[in-house]
């Protein structure tokens, strides 16, 4: 029983940062039907930007150890800078290909993913970097299972951001324009919506969420590297499909579900088979449940 709760807690925590990445995948796919392969790399860059911000803070303001100020600043900077990456991708790589055959933007996305990954590897480092503990490392017990406060924080951040995003999409004018663009870009344009701007906004929001996810994942995993976005991105994409791609609530549900499934899979099959398990889930979901659990509707 303790074991069960422990695994469940681990899975849900993993699910929280998968969810933050999956939201970007699902929004972009919902609006331009593109699998943005480079999205996992935006997540990775979020973690690196977080680390750089922290290092800068250490030299400039003498940050050290756990500090709530540092945590907030790091999260904010990551959320503010990653959109630059996402928007540049959209502007220079995807927008010129919006009317090309689908193979073209897909290959571009793949190339962009490689480019970002290798840029970090070549110009910064190929090694593992320690990520600072920005959050107090206290833990508490629930029925014999040890739960860290950080995990609760991560899940809370993911849920709050998802909630905010849902409110934004449901109630604001921009959110309405976003839904309209997802529904039918040409008609949306005729209604006076600046479709290019809305698509760029989608990338902004998605990248910011992934950036936050990157920092959280950095704290959770304790170390980061240039390659971390590849697997995380793939799994987040699986989560998005599992929940029904284009569906905000579905992405989050899928992410938590995948996190839990993966943790249990790893516990019972052995850690070295964890990724195989995740990929098998991916293939099974795509084959048998391509429209996902909650159906493939766009942010309704």
């Amino acid at each position: 029983m303790d074991e069960l709760i422990q695994q469940l807690a681990n899975g849900v925590t993993k699910g929280s940062y998968y969810a933050l990445i999956a939201l970007g995948y699902t929004m972009v796919y919902g609006i331009i039907q593109l699998i943005n392969f480079a999205h996992g790399e935006v997540f990775m860059l979020g973690a690196f930007i977080g680390l750089w911000t922290f290092n800068l803070g250490v030299t400039a303001f003498g940050w050290g150890g756990t500090s709530l100020v540092a945590l907030v600043v790091v999260l904010l900077v990551a959320a503010l800078l990653t959109p630059l990456v996402g928007v540049s991708l959209e502007r220079f790589a995807y927008r010129p290909l919006r009317h090309a055959p689908r193979l073209a933007p897909l290959i571009t996305a793949l190339g962009a993913s490689f480019l970002l990954q290798q840029a970090v590897a070549v110009f910064y480092t190929r090694g593992q970097l320690q990520f600072p503990d920005l959050f107090p490392s206290t833990s508490f017990q629930i029925g014999g299972a040890s739960i860290q406060l950080l995990w609760v924080f991560m899940v809370a951040v993911a849920l709050v951001l998802t909630f905010a995003l849902t409110v934004f999409i449901r109630t604001t004018r921009l959110g309405k324009a976003m839904r309209a663009t997802a529904e039918d870009p040409d008609t949306a344009r005729l209604m006076g919506i600046n479709v290019d701007m809305i698509i760029a906004l989608t990338f902004v929001i998605g990248s910011a969420l992934a950036g936050v996810g990157g920092v959280l994942a950095g704290m959770y995993l304790g170390q980061i590297n240039f390659f971390m976005g590849f697997l995380a991105g793939l799994k987040a994409f699986t989560a998005a499909v599992l929940g029904g791609i284009g569906n905000i609530a579905g992405a989050v549900l899928g992410a938590f579900l995948l996190g839990i499934l993966e943790t249990f899979g790893a516990a019972y099959l052995g850690g070295e088979w964890q990724d195989v398990f995740a990929f098998c889930v991916l293939i099974l979901v795509l084959v048998f449940l391509p429209t996902g659990l909650l159906g493939e509707r766009v942010s309704r």
Binding site: A93, P96, A100, A104, I107, L110, V122, E272, V287
Partner: protein
């Protein structure tokens, strides 16, 4: 009726005026081109560095200080002279200038800009020189290049000129001579590329050749050459085969580049296989390396390796032609059968996942695959008592073992190409194209799209398995690390760079992307960075690849400036009559 006649007249008058104005503008570019070329020539003879650059105490001879030309300047000079000659000919010749000629000039100009720019960039980033060390030479060459480029751009306003067509038959002799000369030049360029050792100089060589080729392409030379080559197809292929067979003899005992060429051959076979999947059938397969890995592991497990857990031995010829490819193809079907009903982008993800599953499984299944250590000390295959690693001797000239691998590769490429061309002309090949262009319409025409896609998958996997089997013996070991996602992307980049769907293009892409990293070992760190960048740039600016197939070009590129101008001209002619 009368209304349309009067608009025709008005249109004609407008055009007359427009032409007169155009000529006034076009004159300047005609003068600018040879001047720019001369400036670039002068730049090649100026100092390129102001001090000898030493790397670990050794002065670099590739970057000469003294007057004269050497290293990269040779290739800048080649482009500059071409610009002077062509620009001068355009200035002095009498026929009206066309946009195509402008495009050719512009491409030479771009080459003249890129060669010195790239040289300075590599000098500064990799040899830690600073701008103060760089002499006036590269800047002057660059300026000349900009002038030539501007001149070419200026001519783009001119009428496009006749669309290039295949050159008509004059006589068998002329056709034959053209074939011989072109193939000899191509072979010489290849040998020259191998002979250029210095990485900086190689970059210059590569850019110069690309720019020259691009300029010739915009003049329709390659399109024209298709005439004699198609008329003398048998002779052209025969001569090419002879030249390729002679290649190991040109290396005078040095086996390194023979080994690289053999490796390139493997990638050619693999890329041709992937081309069936991505190019012909339009299915993006991102886990293609899995089939390559499966072929390699089958060959490793059955090849009498020294360090292995399995001691099955199957004769090499059987493994190469039957076991490895068939096992790979079976896995292709196993993967494809449930997943091919998915839409294109989901399929890409599934194949990616499959590639990772295979790699991790190879890594974890210690009992059979020896896990991360892999299987090593795989001996050279023995065919009829003769180990092909021993090589052989012809008329006193010894062919080393990797030369035999090279010949083996040639054979496999020939088989693959033959199969591909036969397939492409068949019912199946046409069905692949139909499925790629419009799946719903294809299904409506009675094509069983699932079976057809499955066939493409199996065929692609088959060739990957074959290539993998040779790879295991050639590099004598297999381990999961060699078959990562990056290799899938590398092979995909070969197909995309060369030209999706066009076998000669794919061959070229595979050769370029195997040789480039070998030539630029100093920069091997950044090679995957460059591949990623190349994929993005190719899709953006030339999605049809270096050597596109005509059909694919039309599909991938809706608006080509010159093509648009051509159709406009067609419209003008029609409305005028």
């Amino acid at each position: 009726m009368s209304a349309s006649a009067s608009t025709t007249v008005a249109r004609g008058a407008d055009r007359g005026e427009a032409l007169a104005r155009l000529w006034a503008r076009v004159r300047l570019p005609l003068v600018a081109a040879p001047i720019g070329g001369l400036v670039a020539v002068a730049g090649c003879y100026l100092y390129w560095t102001l001090a000898t650059i030493r790397v670990e105490g050794v002065p670099l001879t590739g970057f000469l200080v003294d007057f004269g030309f050497g290293g990269v300047r040779r290739w800048a000079l080649l482009l500059a002279v071409a610009a002077v000659a062509y620009g001068g000919w355009l200035l002095l010749g009498r026929r009206p200038r066309t946009a195509r000629q402008g495009q050719a000039l512009a491409r030479l100009g771009v080459g003249l800009v890129v060669v010195p720019a790239l040289w300075m960039l590599t000098l500064i980033t990799f040899l830690n020189a600073d701008f103060a060390r760089i002499g006036p030479g590269p800047w002057v060459t660059l300026a000349g290049g900009v002038l030539v480029w501007l001149a070419g751009r200026g001519l783009l306003d001119a009428p496009p000129g006749a669309a290039p067509g295949e050159w008509p038959r004059r006589s068998v002799l002329v056709d034959g001579l053209l074939v011989v000369v072109v193939e000899l030049i191509a072979f010489a360029v290849f040998l020259m590329g191998i002979a250029v050792d210095d990485p900086g100089e190689f970059l210059g060589f590569f850019v110069a050749m690309t720019a020259l080729g691009a300029a010739l392409a915009s003049l329709g030379v390659f399109k024209g050459l298709a005439g004699p080559f198609l008329r003398m197809e048998g002779f052209a292929i025969g001569l090419l085969a002879v030249l390729l067979l002679l290649f190991p003899f040109t290396q005078s005992g040095n086996t390194f580049w023979i080994q690289v060429t053999a490796q390139a051959g493997l990638f050619v076979v693999a890329a041709l296989g992937l081309n069936i999947v991505v190019g012909s059938a339009g299915l993006l397969d991102l886990g293609y390396v899995a089939f390559f890995a499966i072929g390699a592991y089958v060959a490793a497990l059955t090849g009498n390796a020294l360090l292995t857990n399995v001691n099955v031995h199957i004769p090499f010829v059987l493994v190469l032609l039957v076991v490895a490819p068939v096992v790979a193809a079976i896995f292709g079907v196993l993967l494809g059968a449930p997943t091919l009903r998915l839409r294109g982008d989901y399929l890409a993800i599934v194949t990616l996942g499959f590639g990772e599953i295979v790699r991790i499984t190879l890594n974890n299944a210690d009992a059979v695959t020896r896990g991360p250590n892999g299987i090593s000390s795989i001996p050279d295959p023995v065919v009829g008592g003769w180990s092909i690693g021993e090589g052989f001797t012809v008329g006193g000239l010894a062919i080393p073992g990797n030369g035999v691998y090279y010949y083996l590769e040639l054979l496999l490429i020939a088989i693959t190409l033959a199969v591909m061309y036969r397939l492409n002309d068949s019912r199946i090949g046409r069905a692949w194209i139909a499925v790629r262009e419009d799946e719903v319409a294809a299904a409506a025409m009675g094509i069983n799209t699932t079976v057809i896609k499955l066939l493409a998958f199996a065929a692609g996997a088959f060739f990957a398995g074959m290539a993998g089997a040779v790879n295991a013996h050639l590099i004598t070991q297999v381990s999961p690390d060699s078959y990562t996602f990056s290799i899938s992307v590398l092979i995909l980049a070969m197909v995309v760079l060369g030209g999706l769907g066009n076998p000669p293009g794919v061959v070229l892409g595979a050769i370029i992307l195997t040789f480039l990293p070998e030539k630029l070992r100093e920069f091997s760190d950044i090679r995957f960075l460059v591949f990623g960048f190349a994929l993005v740039l190719m899709m953006r600016f030339r999605p049809e690849g270096l050597l596109p197939s005509a059909r694919r070009r039309r599909e991938l590129r809706a608006t080509d400036e010159l093509a648009a101008a051509e159709s406009q001209q067609l419209f003008d002619v029609r409305s005028g009559t």
